[in-house]
Symmetry: C2
Subunit: 368 residues, 2 copies
């Protein structure tokens, strides 16, 4: 499929708005923020690519941000990989940020393991299984604190790029979207080629039932929706956007989980939506088993931009596997790649990015 | 005494270097960072202005940064005050940052009470009494993490202004300076007009003795000096400077405690000292009972700049009392005032600052 592009960035949805967003940030200095959290949902068999050891998902978010800030992980050996050995998308994010000299900050919405790098504490705690009906504690407070951080960062950065790392996050996103009246059934993405939609929908619907809410009954109460069936990344992420987007552009970097973030923002301050674009990867927009556009168009006229990454020519099998529907996105990989291209006015291309990713892959994965 | 000034900023020491530093930052956008911590030293009777309830010093740093970020405190009612009712210098800092629209971030070196605002966790813990010989845990790790944060902030801010809030901090500073060969006896400042030099020196010397070290024996080992007889603010503060000052100017905002910070930096990376200036208040440089210049000149040729604040004409007794030697400095008050003047190219003067401080005083203290 041929897409209209700016540099190696696909204008996938709301093209004119997407072009305007890119013009506004071209050559500018962004701050990349990675929000992290854990939810027990990741440990439900079959939900995430956790394999035989679901506890390993506790280590993924801290290891991802260690990779971003240090260039290697501290809380685990090597880097996070899927059971098939495919490396974390944080490898893409880190490579993009390093190439373009973009600073990064971590905001911890609630993880079981604390990263061994500086992180912003916004008072959050790890999330529970959404079938308990008490998924996230302290949502309003975390959102308010993250908002303060977002306001302050918006005064020094030209714009923000915000990503996330939370295993199991598409199922909690589906649940929050259902509660808020967005029909995302069969539309959320997966890090596995075989997207377990039936399982996700069953768990999401069961969680709503246990919480005593109907699809759409919490359209105007995102705090309650997240508290009941969300995850701890969400209030941190949404708070940052709410604090920053009235002052500077914000590229929300992720796949279908961004639908839940947009729904929260729309309910709390729709005026800032005009300053927001989604930054993701080609693997997400070309995925036949999820539908980001179908989700976003139910919420607001938000442009979707996708980094036109292509690993098919990579020297490494672990990277070529991205082309077969594994991983796809995460840790703001697509948004970080877009930001690197825009900061360098296109001189960082998908080729230069792949070269840097391969160098880091070799250093971190191949030779360990 | 007549001083040479730029706007309402006194060029007190190393005037030419001070002028150059100010030229470099004029009209630029700084990031203000407040480092915080607690040490049990604050609870030694007579050391800090804690009055009858030494536990109250646990609340001062979190309350100070809440005031900076929210405009009011959450963990206490009102604002931190001395036993005489004189308000925290955070009132000055907050007023300066607000007037000049300067963003602020908190880095927590280790407090007993967590602030109800976003803060950066660098893995620190509250400090012990320095007479235990194990004052601060995890010094090297905290320093490394703070350095990463400093590096990242230096990529988006034009320059950094770093302040501190840690009750009892001049005694730990004295101890670290003694261990590192700087004779600061009788030279450190106090928030009280009657500076208890004899008590501070006795505690510092006793701490060195208990730790089995001699004055000057740790000149080249700041990690050990802080671990044995320092406080948890120090590695956070020094790490931030070490991470940022190779790239951007850094105004280290405080009084005589900055001597300990400079000694640590000089031992670890003397090359960055040329990018550093001290920003303080007129109350510090005109204090007959301490000697900032006498401390700094033992370490390096660092300019000392002082905000020429004058509260003698204030409507409020609580502020006029600053002119009688109470409080003097803290929470980066002098540096924040300097940054506000420089960002506004002098249109924020000591008069406009006093007006804003009085408005905030009235709102927070007078009418509570």
């Amino acid at each position: 499929m041929e897409y209209e592009k700016k540099y190696d960035i696909i204008l996938f949805h709301e093209k004119e708005k997407g072009k305007n967003f890119l013009s506004e940030v071209e050559g500018k200095n962004p701050l990349f923020i990675c929000t992290i959290g854990n939810t027990q949902v990741a440990k439900i068999p079959g939900i995430s690519a956790a394999g035989k050891f679901p506890e390993i998902t506790d280590y993924t978010p801290p290891a991802d941000v260690e990779l971003l800030l240090l260039g290697s992980c501290k809380c685990i050996q090597g880097v996070p990989v899927t059971p098939e050995g495919i490396p974390t998308p944080a490898l893409i994010t880190m490579s993009a940020l390093r190439l373009a000299n973009i600073p990064a900050i971590v905001v911890n919405g609630g993880t079981r393991i604390k990263p061994h790098v500086p992180f912003i504490d916004v008072g959050g705690e790890p999330g529970e299984d959404i079938r308990t009906g008490k998924a996230v504690k302290n949502v309003e407070e975390v959102l308010e604190r993250a908002k303060i951080a977002g306001e302050n960062f918006s005064r020094i950065a030209d714009y923000l790029v915000i990503g996330e790392s939370i295993p199991g996050g598409t199922t909690t996103a589906l649940s929050v979207m259902l509660a808020m009246g967005i029909d995302a059934r069969g539309k959320v993405s997966s890090s596995m080629p075989d997207n377990p939609h039936d399982l996700k929908t069953r768990i999401a619907e069961e969680s709503l039932r246990i919480s005593g809410i109907k699809a759409g009954s919490l359209t105007n109460d995102p705090i309650k929706a997240v508290s009941l069936v969300g995850d701890p990344m969400m209030p941190a992420f949404a708070g940052l956007v709410l604090g920053a987007a009235s002052r500077v552009p914000v590229l929300i970097a992720g796949g279908t989980q961004m639908g839940a973030i947009l729904a929260i923002i729309k309910a709390l301050n729709p005026g800032v939506l005009k300053n927001i674009a989604i930054g993701t990867t080609r693997w997400i927009i070309s995925d036949a088993k999820s539908d980001l556009r179908g989700i976003v168009s139910q919420i607001a006229d938000i442009p979707i931009l996708a980094a036109d990454l292509d690993f098919s020519s990579s020297r490494f099998e672990g990277l070529r596997t991205y082309e077969r529907g594994f991983v796809k996105e995460g840790v703001g990989a697509g948004g970080a790649a877009i930001a690197a291209m825009m900061k360098s006015k296109g001189s960082i291309s998908r080729e230069t990015l792949l070269g840097e990713i391969e160098r880091n892959y070799e250093r971190l994965v191949q030779l360990r």
